[in-house]
């Protein structure tokens, strides 16, 4: 469904992505791993249309979307959960969820269903975005992306900076979403989270993909673990 084909991307003059290629198929969870500065976030931003590839193509269901703006990409069915979570601080939790919500296919995500999956958010429905803790913000960001009824969820380091218990909770939620057949592109530094969720891993270093494989292959590749993931 999502297909990156030798993508080169730049920030101003600095060349960040060098020929990045990978694919996310229907219902699949794909993980991008790598250290800070490896190009993982840049890859997600390029998919979302915040950056446009200078060479290569980003395709969605066969259509080249490299030139689209973020809003057009989002409307194709992408649910974006950025690294800094992007909660609107002056909107209530409920408004955060509904402001850009869109209907999707048959079994749509609704506020009711969201509050079943995220009971903590129900309790804070009337609170403003800036009053939430880090964990609650991450939940809200994921929930908000689901309210767009996406076909593909893009998550940029959902475990970053959260207490272990909350990370566990988020992993469980993502597991359920995977079980419902939602395709997910996950950026992570936390290897445990990646191994728990992903069907396939791409390890990035200096803007290139330097390893591709499933969880078993990744766990047994000492060279990659040591040099690119500092485990």
């Amino acid at each position: 469904m999502l297909d990156l084909d030798h993508v080169d991307a730049f920030y101003g003059d600095s060349h960040i992505l060098h020929g990045v290629s990978f694919t996310v198929r229907d219902g699949e969870v794909v993980c991008l791993l790598g250290r800070n500065g490896a190009g993982k976030t840049t890859t997600i931003l390029t998919v979302m249309g915040y950056l446009h590839p200078r060479a290569g193509a980003v395709r969605y269901n066969g259509r080249d979307i490299g030139a689209l703006s973020p809003y057009a990409v989002a409307r194709l069915g992408f649910g974006f959960v950025p690294q800094e979570r992007g909660i609107f601080p002056s909107l209530t939790v409920r408004e955060n969820l509904t402001v850009f919500a869109r209907g999707g296919r048959g079994d749509d995500w609704t506020l009711e269903r969201i509050f079943v999956l995220f009971p903590g958010l129900k309790a804070r429905e009337r609170n403003l975005g800036f009053q939430l803790s880090g964990g609650e913000q991450q939940m809200l960001s994921i929930a908000r992306a689901l309210m767009l009824n996406p076909s593909l969820l893009l998550l940029d380091e959902p475990s970053e900076g959260l207490a272990p218990m909350i990370v566990q909770e988020i992993v469980q939620i993502l597991h359920r979403l995977k079980g419902e057949g939602l395709a997910i592109l996950l950026v992570e530094q936390n290897l445990r989270v990646a191994l728990a969720l992903a069907d396939r891993h791409h390890v990035m270093n200096k803007g290139e993909i330097c390893f591709t494989g499933n969880s078993a292959e990744l766990e047994s590749n000492d060279f990659v673990l040591r040099n690119y993931l500092s485990v």
Binding site: Y71, A74, P82, E95, F100
Partner: protein, 611 residues
């Protein structure tokens, strides 16, 4: 008691009109991070279009609906065609673009409707007076108050209770995130810009029967509206409302009971608010536009650049001998404005602070020469020295308040303070001559040579220009200049290294003010005449245009900009009455097509040509 109530109601009327302006300005700023100097023009256009509609249809009410819509359409066209390409560039270019439009709109109104004060007829149903218990009061004014409060409530409901309002607030919080969730931010921007402009147009029509219609009403409402959002807080509707009523009432009472010092009280209130809450009463702190990603290192002058400089100087020395009087005088004027522009560039280009009030210091220097000469019979050169000192002192005082802010708030504060200086120049007629101005009795001599000879004038101004250029070049190559650049590039880091950044910004502001004062003093010596027009905010805008046109952040750019601007103005004004529109249009084109100004574009081309 009756008078008090009447004043209170008058204050509310003015406050309501201010609110219609400030609400749009504030929304546009909050969402788009754009400060539109053309917002006053839309107020003016709304009023005049309203007049035209009343003249055709005979109905005030049709005008009240149609005129804002027509103005909104104009605003939407402006946003889509001109502002949109500039969003990636930061707020300076946007401010300048809207400033270019104020020229065009002013010229348009002046051409179509002339310069006399017109009035929109009060609608028949509201022509009488109403007894409100504590005296009688104009029905129309009472209607205005109710109308304004109704609009405020509707706006609040729209913003806080509707999904569109939630989208706007989401966009204000984080426009990039909103786009990533499928929010059509471009459409939202256009919509809000059009909506804000419509409110300004509505204000213009509503103000028509009470304030009158004239070219210049754009600025008369824009400046107080700026003060309102500085006090109320940028991007806050509640701030715009409370601020408008406060300023409206304070202004009305002040004018009634304190006359000429009323303005001081408003500025004093503004200053106090900003010292206690720099973000305004209801404002939230916002992130400024990111600095440019262009490498701008600080290489000192080399033998090659010095050689080129000497050649240019030789040409400038030889040049006047082949010219008649008029071009000599024009070039002398260019030298004076080049000094002025370079002084602005010290804070604008080298310290990263955009001032829209630099004419205040030019004015202080100019009035020192004129007042000391005319009232006290002092020699113009003593006046010039006093002028530089006065301008430096003024800059130190005003800068003390302004340098605490940055970005758009800095722009608004400098603008407000310069208008304060302007109001003194305008109102203190006994000393300054107000808008009629004052003339030096005789042209001073320069080392025994009479400045009435154009060649003497030429070399006198050239000498000061070269001295100012070399002095500033010295400053920029010295450690102090590098500290300014460091603050422009990363102020928090400079503080963490141990530089008290506020103090350094104040030093830059004071030096720039002193040099502007020098230019102002020279201008009076050159021109023999000064009036309050020289300190009006558009004079600050002109010098900003010259600096940006030539290229801010370089020392060569501002003189080039001054030359181009003054030549263009002289040529255009000798061939056409519409020179304001011509300059405005030329300037809009320049902002759109030559980012970085003329010298910046030249440098870019050279950079590309080099391997």
């Amino acid at each position: 008691m009756e008078l008090l109530v009447a004043q209170l109601l008058n204050g509310l009327v003015y406050g309501v009109l201010l609110f219609l302006m400030a609400a749009g300005l504030s929304l546009i700023f909050g969402l788009m991070n754009v400060v539109s100097l053309a917002h006053g023009s839309f107020f003016m256009l709304g009023a005049f279009l309203g007049l035209a509609i009343v003249q055709v249809t005979g109905s005030f009410w049709i005008a009240l609906v149609l005129a804002p819509l027509a103005v909104a359409l104009l605003g939407i066209v402006m946003e889509v065609l001109f502002l949109r390409p500039l969003y990636a560039r930061g707020h300076m270019d946007q401010v300048l673009l809207t400033f270019g439009f104020t020229f065009v709109f002013y010229d348009l109104v002046q051409t179509v409707w002339g310069r006399i004060v017109l009035r929109l007829p009060t609608p028949a149903i509201l022509q009488g007076t109403v007894d409100i218990g504590a005296g009688v009061f104009s029905a129309y004014r009472l209607f205005l108050i109710g109308f304004g409060f109704a609009i405020a409530v509707l706006l609040w409901l729209l913003l806080e209770r509707s999904r569109i309002g939630a989208m706007v607030r989401a966009g204000v919080d984080n426009a990039a995130m909103a786009a990533g969730l499928g929010g059509n931010i471009a459409l939202l921007f256009t919509g809000i810009f059009g909506f804000g402009v419509a409110l300004a147009g509505l204000g213009g029509v509503a103000a028509g029967p009470t304030l009158g219609l004239y070219p210049g009403m754009d600025t008369d409402i824009l400046i107080p509206a700026f003060i309102v959002i500085v006090i109320g807080g940028m991007g806050s509707l509640r701030g715009a409302f409370v601020g408008s009523l406060l300023i409206g009432i304070a202004d009305t009472f002040g004018k009634a009971y304190l006359q000429s010092i009323a303005l001081f009280l408003i500025y004093l209130a503004m200053t106090v608010v900003l010292l206690i809450r720099p973000q305004g009463l209801f404002g939230i702190r916002y992130a400024d536009a990111p600095p440019s990603a262009v490498a701008r290192t600080m290489p000192p002058s080399t033998k090659a650049t010095r050689a080129v400089g000497l050649i240019v100087l030789a040409v400038l020395i030889v040049l006047p001998f082949g010219l008649p009087d008029y071009p000599r005088a024009l070039i002398a004027e260019i030298y004076i404005f080049a000094i002025f522009a370079m002084s602005l560039d010290l804070i604008l280009g080298f310290s990263g602070l955009m001032s829209l009030g630099h004419a205040a210091f030019f004015g202080l220097g100019a009035y020192a020469v004129a007042v000391l000469g005319v009232q006290f019979g002092l020699d113009a050169w003593i006046g010039l020295a006093a002028g530089v000192a006065l301008a430096a002192a003024g800059a130190a005082l005003i800068g003390f308040f302004c340098v605490r802010t940055g970005g758009i708030p800095f722009l608004m504060l400098t603008l407000a303070f310069s208008q304060l200086v302007f109001s003194v120049a305008l109102k203190w007629r006994d000393v300054t001559g107000g808008s009629d101005g004052m003339a030096l009795a005789e042209q001073p001599s320069f080392f025994g040579f009479s400045l009435s000879h154009s060649l003497v004038m030429y070399f006198m101004t050239l000498m000061f220009f070269v001295a100012a250029y070399l002095g500033l070049r010295r400053l920029i190559d010295a450690p102090l200049g590098h500290v300014f650049v460091g603050i422009r590039e990363n102020e928090p880091r400079m503080a963490a290294i141990g530089y008290p950044t506020l103090a350094y910004k104040l030093v830059a502001f004071t030096i720039a003010g002193a040099i502007a004062g020098l230019a102002g003093g020279l201008y009076v010596i050159y021109n023999g005449f000064i009036s309050s027009d020289a300190v009006y905010w558009t004079a600050s805008g002109d010098i900003l245009i010259m600096t940006m046109l030539g290229g801010a952040g370089t020392l060569i750019g501002p003189p080039i900009g001054a030359a181009v601007f003054l030549l263009m103005k002289n040529v255009a004004s000798s061939y056409s009455e519409h020179w304001l529109a011509i300059i405005g249009t030329a300037f809009i084109c320049c902002v759109l097509f030559f980012p970085g100004g003329i010298w910046g574009s030249v440098q870019k081309l050279r950079g590309k040509a080099a391997p």
